[in-house]
Symmetry: D2
Subunit: 239 residues, 4 copies
């Protein structure tokens, strides 16, 4: 069974009643719950816990890590970021949600600023499937419709995604690469745009379906660790 | 005229007579010289200089930075690395040579370990052109032949290159992705494998041709800086 | 000087007064004119000419071929398509415009159906630059705004583009990959979406700028023809 | 259970005793047998059968088609090629082996000549894994070693693969992109280089493992057929 750890900074939920109303169990709780309803094993971890809840024991039991952060990016310890990055490069799957585009872990794996345009206006978003046979889009029709979301617009400063699954359309005139797979080391990283804390995005069925699909897509498949470093010449080797 | 700064840690040249014999002007001096012979403006900078020779004034006058490092990667100041990275993301071209695969600047832009296999045996290498219409391969025939080089072998832990120009064949049985273009932010990064310090690789005509071509390819072309951050709604915008 | 041949089926211009009003010199004439104003050498060719105007003599003098077709795709002779395809694979640049997505030459180079969604409603289109340092976007700001265009929507059945330059937003709720570079053989193919025959799209400055940029981008750069077929063993070769 | 149809032109097996000795059941028989041993459902089809054995009934029962051809490419009926292509674009997986690089179906899906360099010398080949976490490489170590194979060398005239899994090294001095995934329409195409008819390549365990892995990788996963063609405006649509 795939083991997922859902990490959330869990700040807005404690400081903003509007967010608490939408996510009374925290964004992490909501996500963990629907993962479990879909047959996955899911635990949560948050910023305020020792080592942000990402101890070696926890990471040893994590096939896929989901990351939601926003206002607390700078509070994440660099050593934890390095540990998580090392795990991803060795094969752990990583799903970065929404404002996690500015998290240390995502920026470190991308090598770019990951900056973008944004507008908080609760406007209509449509996520069009541009890769209709991709496993992450399985069961989704042509697009996902969100009635109220924060806008993220291009130019999104990321490396070219290895696989582009969703493109967003926003009522206000912008587009955005909203579902992007990046292969990094032996791991897969999926960035998924939606999920502003004041909107009930993670309660919506098709959004949950995408995240469940993504967990199954980015989970480690092939645990061969490549040999690197100094190697001996082959027997047949002759200058 | 394109302005190039050739950066070299310049350590082997001072500590190893064998290297000094091959590169009496330093690897940086040799490279800067053939760039100038090819009509480019080239200066040099080295690790031991203040700010490693990469002051704001120098970087302001740099269209393309060439990087050679090996034993001194850890001695490069993190703040200089951040400054160089910021320049690349804003459009400065970067060419990383040989053992520069383990430099802080390259690893930071790639987001992976950039680890590989290696063997110092002075064996034969052939760099096959796998993208024959690519500007970096202009004037190169089917392949470049190097009589004696250090071997680098797969798996090379890099993100999928945006453009793959050369694949190396080594006498001892290995292959390697030897010429790789990565787009990062507004900048282009070219990694070029050959150039072990004890071999006269950078004196060879076709290797020089590739580096000249690469300078012209990665130089900034389009200086539009995208708008990011919070943007106002369009006039027509209505929820 | 780059030599461009602008091919147009030139049917709507003869049968539809509305189109003739917008393009009294034909779409091909309008495009050839602005190319010349931008310092390029440009000739035209049309469907009704012998060999559709694409004789060996014409193709011998063509660095870049621009293609506009719509209602007459089936009237294009397969042998001419094969000749054009052969030229592209040997290095000739090809720019396919708008409804040319369904041309024989484009479908043959792509290997897919090139089908898409469409709606003729004269609605607002924005072409967002998603690759701001790409030469084809040089001089374009953040986006191109078209007041009235036909809508093309995803899923667009093309192979993953080698370079994605523009993404379109349409007022009616759709998105589209509108500026796509494909490397095929030694040639570059650029597909550019806008240009419905009843709208003055090709009279607009920024659209003209993109097409001029694209000509300079897809023109042949490196005329080395790779060696293929049966090759002799190397001297050193021993089983 | 995944249903595989193994297609072989089945000519060398009938005309060349040397080939018959290596593959007494035909290449198709050998492949079908090891697929069945690995829990897959496998049937065979050959050139000399009516409709080359690829009737609608057969294709309706095919999730993945494997293709081996060499001397009989021109004998394959264009209408069958079109039918197979249509199936691939709608989601059927396709695995093209060795000299199938010159088959009509592969060239038609690629849009390029698919030409390459070759030498029949029974020399040593190593297929290096360059994407160690790819499902197709699962269970393979660092490389596959083949003692005797025909050489295929670059430049291989294919579009840039969507995923590159194997790179071959040949004793005689060449390299080759030997394991390539291409997404075309809703289907996945895997090209796998080894398998000259006079060598026992398809009897080797790790080669069989790759083909079994590939069947599971290219099989249809997501049967949503995208909507294309003329679409009605959205309710909210207003010019």
């Amino acid at each position: 069974m795939v083991k997922v750890t859902v990490w959330n900074e869990n700040i807005h939920e404690q400081t903003d009643a509007e967010v608490r109303d939408v996510y009374p169990e925290g964004i992490h709780g909501t996500i963990a719950n629907f993962l479990k309803e879909n047959g996955l094993e899911a635990k949560t971890a948050t910023l305020e816990q020792p080592e942000h809840g990402l101890t070696d024991n926890v990471l040893n039991e994590t096939d896929v890590l989901i990351w939601w952060g926003h206002t607390g990016h700078d509070k994440v310890d660099d050593r934890i970021v390095e540990k998580v990055k090392d795990r991803v490069l060795k094969g752990m799957g990583l799903i970065v949600l929404h404002s996690g585009h500015f998290s240390k872990i995502f920026k470190s794996l991308m090598g770019t600023t990951c900056d973008l345009k944004w507008r908080e206006a609760g406007e209509n978003e449509r996520l069009w499937v541009v890769n209709p046979s991709h496993p992450i889009a399985e069961g989704i029709g042509e697009y996902i419709e969100l009635d109220h979301e924060e806008m993220y617009g291009e130019h999104f400063d990321i490396p070219e995604p290895d696989e582009l699954v969703f493109l967003s359309w926003f009522r206000g005139g912008e587009v955005f690469r909203s579902g992007c797979v990046f292969n990094r080391g032996l791991g897969k990283v999926f960035y998924f745009r939606p999920g502003h804390e004041t909107f009930p995005t993670y309660h919506q069925d098709d959004i949950q379906r995408v995240i469940v699909n993504a967990v199954n897509y980015v989970k480690p498949l092939n645990q061969n660790q490549p040999i690197r470093g100094n190697v001996q010449p082959l027997e047949r080797f002759d200058k």
